[in-house]
């Protein structure tokens, strides 16, 4: 009898244990996606949860973009309170590795996800790699593009037969397009975030890239003629201000508002504003619009891009269970493979099998601007780079006065050089 009882107990214990092992795994998720793209990510998470009901559940929290997000990740990882996974900017990865905030993703992890190097563009893969190790899975690349108001451009005779803006091939011709819009009574031919140097970094760095310039070579900032190339880029933008062709002292929300209200005919902004336009257009509150790769102001096309990626924080004194890790990898893999929907947020999915589908090729305006993927440049790989990082910060200080005509481009470059090399 006693033996029988013990066997019964053993069976019961096994059943119970199996039950525990099969219990739903909750993934704590943090992101900084607060705009139109955040709404789309929430939808993806809902779909994932529905499909994995009873097995895996993502518990997602959206935090404030930029410094608040990264400060919170850093402090919480230090005391073992960080989430199981989070979104991360590829440009911030070198700093994160130096701070010891991220876990390495091993070859086994990628095998478990069924994803590998071959699925990503080389530059995108490189952006999550530090010293030959991967620290994140790229979700997308999000470049800046030129938005334009087809109605205003057409009225000024500045649309070609394909409905694209004229003058995209040189600085002179593009300036002529802006001037034609001005002459046709458009208050701001180009809506520019001229009050926010952080934002303008993206445009200006793109223009430096169009001259083949680099921010950092062998650990030195703006060496050789790279300083002159930065001054050229600033000079073009300052020239537009001087000629009254772009909005001055305009902050980010105001720039978007100037464009959507039809006061600005064009706008250089991130692809993440695509949902804003599609949603407004769907409500019938927007003119005919389009988005294209940036104009070639200098020698060759070049566009600055950053990449949203998924990363696993290195929680101090807290080891992830193999079950939890497997669940997190499942979630990342699922979202990567379903990132066609993420493309409706404007971003270009990093997972190549998605961008090769006919559905993606038919998606507008994404298909029009996706040509730029061949010309993308990323941040220099240094712990000083990244959104809301020190490079952003120093440059932004001098961009605002230069773009609004308070400071000479050459003087600005001299000050930027001095401050950057002193970091």
């Amino acid at each position: 009898m006693i033996v029988k009882g013990m066997i019964k107990a053993a069976i019961l214990a096994t059943v119970c244990f199996a039950g525990v092992a099969k219990a739903e795994e909750t993934i704590v998720w943090w992101d900084f996606l607060g705009g139109g793209d955040g709404v789309r990510m929430k939808k993806l998470i809902e779909d994932f949860n529905a499909e994995h009901a009873g097995q895996i559940k993502i518990d997602a929290t959206t935090l404030e973009w930029g410094t608040p997000f990264y400060a919170k990740v850093q402090t919480s990882a230090a005391v073992g309170e960080a989430p199981d996974m989070m979104t991360y900017h590829a440009s911030r990865i070198p700093l994160a590795v130096q701070q010891g905030v991220l876990q390495e993703l091993t070859a086994d992890d990628f095998a478990a996800m069924g994803i590998g190097q071959a699925d990503f563009a080389p530059a995108t893969w490189d952006a999550v790699t530090v010293d030959g190790k991967q620290y994140a899975v790229p979700l997308d690349t999000h470049p800046i593009v030129l938005y334009y108001n087809k109605d205003l451009l057409s009225a000024a005779g500045m649309l070609d037969e394909n409905g694209l803006p004229k003058g995209m091939d040189s600085g002179e011709n593009f300036t002529a397009t802006l001037q034609a819009l001005k002459d046709n009574g458009v208050p701001f031919p180009l809506g520019s975030v001229t009050a926010d140097g952080n934002f303008m970094f993206r445009t200006i760095y793109s223009l430096v890239g169009q001259q083949g310039g680099e921010l950092m070579t062998d650990g030195e900032f703006l060496a050789g003629d790279n300083g002159d190339k930065l001054a050229n880029a600033l000079g073009v933008l300052a020239g537009w201000t001087k000629a009254g062709l772009q909005s001055t002292y305009t902050d980010y929300p105001a720039t978007v508002a100037l464009f959507t209200s039809g006061e600005a005919a064009m706008m250089i902004n991130g692809v993440w504003e695509v949902p804003t336009m599609t949603d407004l257009a769907a409500q019938g509150k927007l003119f005919n619009w389009g988005a294209v790769e940036l104009p070639v102001i200098f020698d060759k096309p070049s566009t600055y891009a950053d990449s949203h990626a998924f990363a696993l924080p290195a929680n101090k004194g807290k080891d992830m269970t193999p079950e939890k890790r497997a669940a997190v990898l499942t979630a990342i893999s699922w979202i990567e493979k379903n990132s066609l929907f993420w493309a409706t947020a404007g971003h270009i999915p990093a997972y190549a099998p998605v961008t090769k589908t006919p559905e993606y090729a038919a998606m507008q305006p994404n298909a029009t601007y996706s040509s730029l993927t061949a010309n993308m440049i990323f941040d220099p790989k240094t712990p000083l780079a990244g959104v809301a990082g020190p490079i952003f910060d120093v440059m932004s200080t001098y961009f605002v006065p230069t773009l609004n005509g308070e400071l000479d481009p050459a003087e600005a470059v001299a000050s930027i050089k001095e401050e950057l090399n002193g970091l």
């Binding site: 410094t67 400060a71 850093q74 402090t75 230090a78 700093l95 701070q99 975030v193 009050a195 926010d196 140097g197 952080n198 934002f199 909005s247 001055t248 002292y249 305009t250 902050d251 980010y252 929300p253 105001a254 508002a257 100037l258 809301a388 990082g389 020190p390 910060d393 932004s396 200080t397 605002v400 006065p401 609004n404 308070e406």
Partner: protein, 293 residues
Amino acid sequence: MLINRRKDTLIAAVLVAPFLAIYLLVFIWPTVQMFGISFTDAPLIGDGNFVGLDNYARLDSDPRFRTAAWNTAYFVLLTVLPGTIVALLIALGVSRLKGRAQSAVLALFFLPYILPVSVVYLIWDWVLNFQFGISMHILDWLGIDRVPITKTRAWFMPAMAVVTIWWTAGFSILLFLAGLRAIPAEIYEAASLDNASRWTVFRKITWPLLYPITSLVFTIQLISQLKIFDQVYLFSQGGRPNDNMVLVYYVFQRAFQQDQGGRAAAVAVTLFVLVVAVSVLQFQLLRLSGGRR
């Protein structure tokens, strides 16, 4: 009556203990730590190496620290004395009203004070925004060129001063009103019997009797304005924070944006010493000038 001194001390100790424990834990201990960190090259999280006075020595040649110190001083200059004067004037006006009217007007002046700073920011951004602000439309209407008030160096601090005075004057007005009510009506009656002019009444009666309140308001203003951060942070978002830098913002930037705990602590210690020195100095000055009468 017999007093058990030992028992009294014990009760006092028990009553004070909870406060003291929390005070030591969350104020004194971190402050001591901050002094320690300021002599190291620690990042935001974790320990650093001892670097002696390096972090302090660097402040001397640090242009951003200089901007921060200058802007803070400028802001204090623009808010403390003007803020006190504005509050005093409004309080004098409100005290002339009677009954319901007085309560209503006082409520209007006090209303901004209960708003959170983020709301204050939104309200004033709607007013001052270069593209969409209400005041810009007024300028257009008057035929004057628009002024990018929160986006240029020359206008930023004065604008912050106006916003801050608008936001915080309510509390000072309340203190002044309490002070005015404490002045006995008989003194004013006696003065009016002597045919004293309004100015004489103010100079010889109101001002001296209100002096303790004035110096209190002044001190509170001085300390809180030295610690300015919120308004500058909010209005500089997506703007030019490095030109609008103030000391507390600089501590935040060094620590959280640049991951330099040691250098941030050095700035924080400097600010701490500054606040203590200025408060003591100001208290002594007010005491001396008060004692002259």
